[in-house]
Symmetry: D2
Subunit: 352 residues, 4 copies
């Protein structure tokens, strides 16, 4: 298969580092350009405060960081953006205008009606929005967004359920890892031996993005799903892995055992296409009563960190309701991994 | 006022220690007998692994631990029981049979229909069950139970709401401190940098005990409140203070600002009686967007640890629903403090 | 006694907040001016991210933050400086030139030969340097420095030993709290479930400052003590309280029991003067084999956080050596508390 | 190469589990018998509280746990013992008497003069003691001990130094992970946000075992090295990986750069024999100023967890002294991994 040459904007940040790790041995995506602003001109090894316990590959360590601009990405087939939202707002449009397909982690363009917001197993058909986006904006390139890290795990766990039952209402309480705030991110003085019951803008994002992703694509546009959500987001002293406690009400009775089985057996297009970053099981179901746990389960599955892990599937209040706990690796499936899988899918579908 | 002489069963455990600290300077309760089984005969100072950062008072350190039996409590007016449930089952009955009023932390007798389960600000009238209990069981003494640490904070926060609005349904997700499991309790290998999404029997207790406490006392018995609860209990790496994320649906519209004001201004009988362990405000409302936090707020209020702290009061899904976050000190209001306040109330009402 | 009116530079930082808490009920120091640069013009309550679990006093919350300049301190008798070192370098000189006595936490001027570096129980006689400083610099005011938080506990524990035995060599390994780095300070992504074996410039400061503080004052100057130190500084996931593992070699045999007794019975000038922030025992000796522990012991003593806590006093290698573990509250005795005690001492000695 | 059939005593404990993980894909050691006492008769999957984030292999999960006795090990070539010391005392002798070679983690027999205490890269020649042990005790089998987890990393880091310079004195302060205490081990109530400056018997073991391991083997016995040690052991809130701060004095000048190079280039017999569990570099030297860190470096090296990681190599006090920080994975190199490497070495040398 033809190589995809990739550029990465925001390469020195916490999520940027995750791309570098995940793309090191990728079968067909070659990360060729590392972009940064303050660090442009330095070697990546000098510029980065490397956070992972695996060693930074020498090939990247010695690479020079380029400024964040279309010119730096010259010759690349794709631009991954791990930029902070404010910077992303303008920069991603410039890349798209210059002809690049940008796959973005940033929240800047997620809710624009002609920008697909993709979790490959859940709503790959939303990629159909690209055509409309290009036409409307007169771009040769495009912006494809990936969701907030808390949303990704949630909609992935919900997909096999919403395929079977109409989801009416859900109450979600999250316990989120500190890496979700990037680096330096959450001060240790705030979070050690503590819970912080608030994450800026997070609850709003979970509500709005979930509705868009689970919405129906037809006639070139996405109509938002009508799910009522009440979300409470909390920060806890965990390094990686967002835990979410889910309660949902459906339009018809839901048997917990059937729901569990539907999740455990769920596969989608990325699995059928055998995409390299697609886990065999997008949802790993644990049946022990005290799982999933972030430290033990965040790297579960055939592609570590790409599966959402679900446990404690049980009745809620009455036969139409369901409760469970889910765990999603916020910087793998919730960020770099989901974007890479999106790129693989787009390539496979000929959109790239 | 006449002194109350108290004996304490389970004195060396984590909750037992909290009694020792809280009763040290009590205006009228004198802790005179410390009971334990394995440690009987030793001095309390030798027997206990003292967990608090305040120094153990010399008076208690040198006291001899007595065996757990009615004979040890001879001359006492009250027996506080911080026994584990299995031990409590039999021992508490023996104390009651021997004529002692037992105020118990244990779950053993909580759900028996003639045993009052008391949070003084919420359901002091349930103390009326004692008469029936004595008659039925032929005891001169009695057993008065106090609820599970997760329940106490919840019903206290709900009381001013259920006084105004009919609570139909609630979804509660907890983030509980390790001290809730006693000492040695939760292994550090399990909980450091982790969330454990399960606490044995806890969710069942929250459901059943809440219904009883919020139930109506009339004609000598308590009819359980009809609240539907979906509860998810999680252990987090916090030392003291249970955080609970609450979503509720009521029978009529609830204005969040009114609800918040109702909580902030709530006082009850213990406040009117100026009981020494009654906080001026049973519910402390924080209006900052990122509070309550266990490390910062668990000791809030005029009697440290006796107030539940509520924050982020806001609309849920639709006008009849409400969300907020609450924090309750699990070994103060959730255990020793609530029992001591119950004793104060009983004395003040002439039940002791 | 006449009131001392105080201004505080760097009021919104983590150490600045500690001053605000400690001076709230001070018998004769009145904190009248809160200074800050970015926050000048705001109310202190708005400007500060309040880190303590005790409530910020309304009196300070509503006070307006003034710019950091001598004009703001007009009418004050003393200026406490909790400025970062770079800012302190220039600002403190301006205050001193303008006639103020500055008591400083910053490292900027600590090692200047005419600036006293004070731990009141250890080297109060070094205040004699002020005269020389004023003469040499032509100032009406003066700069008095207080040491690095790691040094303060160390020299306090050593003082009764160096009074008896000639200290030749010591090896010190520290385990320091995150609050030592201020706020936001140490990122949680760095320190949760980890040890960081390096703190910038800390080891050099421990060596140089210890030598100065334990040096002899005579004929208007301080000659540095000849102690050889090997120091290793580590950051651990602890909020407050620096733990230090000490090994020392002396010029003559040291009996551990005698050394322990010398520390336990040590008092100095601040104790004899009954200064309000002077703890009855500057050194609290714990005899349990597993103490001191930061969470349990950092607030030990009659003035919480002002005593250094020493434990595990034992023989090292051979009769001339000694080992022990010490614990010192880094933002109380290691910062604000030590500066306040210095001010009390200076007032009592007529230097203020 | 001929397969080695192995039995494991203490299979369900924390260290036992590490053996199961490390031997899963071993090229020639087959773990065939899992022994336990309370769990005998159950399947291993049922009996164990699996602590690792990697999945327990189905092959072991379904295996039946056998009672701890020579009969269970029938047909095995080797017995690994991860028994607690009290149980090990008697059981290991019975295995040895029955003809088995026991490689033991327990402290029970470590200091017996005819029992080799082995770190393969450091003192493989001590295996010569086996002959004497068999003769003296009349056993066909033998007991080979491996050291305490804190000692293993220390002597490994010291070996290339003691080969060049005479080590006279060292001062070691440790910051040890909670997994060193097994499971359930250290209560979270003790260690969260804390340092515990004491580990029972640990300091004595470091002193005595280091002397034995670094001693000279000749004429069938080991003469202990004359190193004076002052050790302070601390428990910190870290899951895996013991950090040790080292200060040493040598008989002649030591150049830090030379010492660092000697450590970085050190290889020994296991490396020359290309044993499967021997890391290419027994000592990994990090040159960044803030390394090693347990969370980032405990799995460093070509065989994860088998290398000791050394950093901050620098002068101590004077030209004959040296300081550095070392990190050693306490349940891999400090326990199961060191024992497995010892077995590989013994097989390769024909002792098994």
């Amino acid at each position: 298969m033809k190589r995809l040459r990739a550029a990465l904007a925001g390469a020195t940040g916490a999520v940027g580092q995750r791309y570098v790790t995940m793309l090191r041995d990728h079968p067909f995506i070659r990360l060729e350009v590392l972009m940064g602003n303050e660090s442009a001109g330095k070697s990546y090894g000098e510029a980065v405060r490397w956070l992972d316990s695996t060693q930074l590959d020498e090939r990247y360590a010695s690479a020079e960081v380029s400024p964040t601009s279309p010119r730096s990405a010259d010759g690349c087939d794709i631009v991954f953006s791990a930029l902070p939202s404010v910077a992303a707002e303008k920069a991603e449009k410039e890349f798209a205008k210059a002809g690049f397909t940008v796959i973005s982690e940033a929240s800047a363009h997620r809710m624009e009606p002609d920008v697909p917001l993709i979790v490959p197993e859940v709503n790959h058909e939303h990629l159909g929005l690209i055509e409309r986006q290009r036409k409307r904006r007169g771009w040769k390139g495009a912006i494809v967004a990936t969701p907030n890290c808390t949303v990704t795990g949630l909609v992935l766990a919900l997909k096999p359920l919403t395929d079977r039952y109409a989801l009416k209402k859900c109450v979600v309480t999250t316990m989120q890892a500190v890496s979700g705030a990037g680096y330096p991110g959450v001060p240790s003085l705030d979070v050690i031996e503590n819970v912080i019951p608030y994450i800026k803008d997070e609850e709003e994002k979970v509500s709005s993005e979930s509705g868009k992703i689970l919405g129906l694509f037809s006639s070139g546009s996405v109509s938002r799903a009508r799910i009522q959500l009440a979300v409470s987001c909390n920060r806890v002293p965990v390094l990686e892995g967002h835990t979410e406690s889910f309660y949902g009400e459906f339009g018809s009775p839901v048997d917990p055992a059937e729901a569990e089985e539907a999740m455990a057996s769920f596969v989608s297009l990325p699995q059928r296409l055998c995409l390299p970053t697609a886990p065999e099981r997008p949802i790993v179901v644990r049946r022990e009563r005290d799982r999933p746990q972030p430290r033990l389960d965040r790297m579960a599955g055939s592609v570590p960190g790409m599966s959402v892990v679900v446990g404690r599937v049980r009745r809620g209040i009455g036969p139409r309701s369901l409760q469970f706990t889910l765990l999603s690796h916020n910087t793998v499936r919730g960020a770099a991994g989901n974007a890479i899988l999106t790129a693989e899918l787009m390539r496979s579908r000929g959109v790239l």
